[in-house]
Amino acid sequence: MKHIGNAKAQRIYIWFLLPGLVYVLLFVVYPIVFNVQLSFQNVTALNIRAPRKPYIGLDNYVQVFTDPELPGILLNTLAFTIGSIAFQFAIGFAIALFLQKQFPLRDLFRSLIMIGWVLSPIVVGTIWRWMLNSDFGLLNFILQWIGVIDTNISWLPQPKTAMTGVVMANIWLGVPFNMMLLTGGLANLPESVYESATIDGANRFQQFFKITIPLIRQTIAATIMLGFIYTLKVFDLIWVMTNGGPVNATTTMPVWSYRASFVLFKFSQGATISNVLFAMTLVLAIVYIYFFGNKED
């Protein structure tokens, strides 16, 4: 490849690289740096346009880490993330396995399930608010009809059940993504292994645990890691369903950060909280990329 690999061409390709790179430096990297600066200042609605903003050292971090709400919010974040991923993964995996089989209209079913993924989180949150409505919601009606509950549950207005309600909506939203990633892993499995296993008398359970799981171990781990990264940042869905309430019952790290900045207008507080979230995400992202990323390089 003389004309692509030569020095002149490579120089031109650096020009090609620049637009997107400059963009990311300006709108992704710079905001992160600016966030760090903000977290050492005290910027609120009052001094947002002031030319010089006071530096207050680590005060913001001290406030965040000594906030009596912090343990609860971390627990909420953990509950939201683990609860969502466990079920998204299990349901997504079950559907992916089933859609490996050959039957008519299979691809149509796969596409129909993917619809859940293109819907905006705001739309999904709105639908689920209606599904979970205390008096007229479809979920309460179905649960009563099949006899799981006797009286209606006020899902979202009650601190005890609000998290369950939000997690249900997020599971629904995440199933297609998990299904899709796992389908990709399953598609690469060689049919012949199963054939010989069948001939050797291995039943379906044995095949699943002894062949399928070990062979797509990588995909499973990658799916779960990506699940953590993408669930940790969910904001829209929670905001539209509960605004983080009632009494902080569904406040996760992103919700907390947003509320500090755009409800209380304590921008430095918001930036500080999001820096903590950034550190959490970065650790996960680096672990993910170290183990699974960039295979083609």
Binding site: Q10, Y13, P19, F27, V29, L99, G116, I122, L226, S274
Partner: protein, 304 residues
Amino acid sequence: MHAGTRKEFSQFQHKTTAGKKIKTGLRHYLAISTKKKKIVKLVVALIATGTYLIPVLWMYISSFKTERDVYSLPPTLIPNPVTFDPIVQTLSSGGIRYFFNSMVIGSFSTFLTLILAAFTGFALARLKKRWVSMIVLVFLIAQMLPTVLRVTPLFIVFNNLRLINTYAAVILANASLTIPFSVILLRTTFLATPQEIEEASLIDGCSHIKSFFLISVPMGKPGLAVAGAMSFVWSFGDFIFSLSFLNKPSMHPATVGLYNFIGAEATSWNNVMAFAGLTALPLILLFLIFQKQIIQGLSTGSFR
């Protein structure tokens, strides 16, 4: 022969150990049994998909109901009577403006993303430098970072630049998610397109920029379609940036309109569902048009 049939065949062969002798009978047996099994699978798939889609179906069912009907107990499966009032009302009471705003934000973010990401993704596929993988890493991480991380600093920056209450603020902010995603996707795309044709065009005296637009971009079309479709889906669905950077209701996209609509006291759920259903419709249609490319594009690389 399908995979299932083959599996059964070997099972059957194993059991009888005299496969050849009863070949005709076997074929008959297999034909009936796989047909039956396929129908069972079809029914299971129908039930599973139907169950999964209940929320979407319920949204559309509710949006054709009258206010009395939407609150009836037990809930009615089929709207009685079917009414178009909630949809008409949503569109006539400012809804069209919201959808227009969403389209503006969605299309311009997509346009900006495709132009910048095509060049950058292509460059990252063709550059033979050691630092390329470092740059790829930056884009990979950028794509994974929470949007809430960028909303506070960008708000302050846009506020200082007097860009609050402009579409530009939201479009620029949206592209901070869609560009990294598209760059990674398009790099994978252009790594897979044959370089020989580009090489040939360069030998024939074609300039690099001309070769890029006339040869590389057409070959990268499937990837560009996915990047474009996903950029549109995400920008159209943006909530956090629009909520924070736009405080004039006349500029709000449908997502923010919907959020404020639920908050309003007197709104009833048939109207809310009509609004949600209309907001979802363009994306569902877009997905159905590009479904093959999207599913293929997403499962080959963009998330890895």
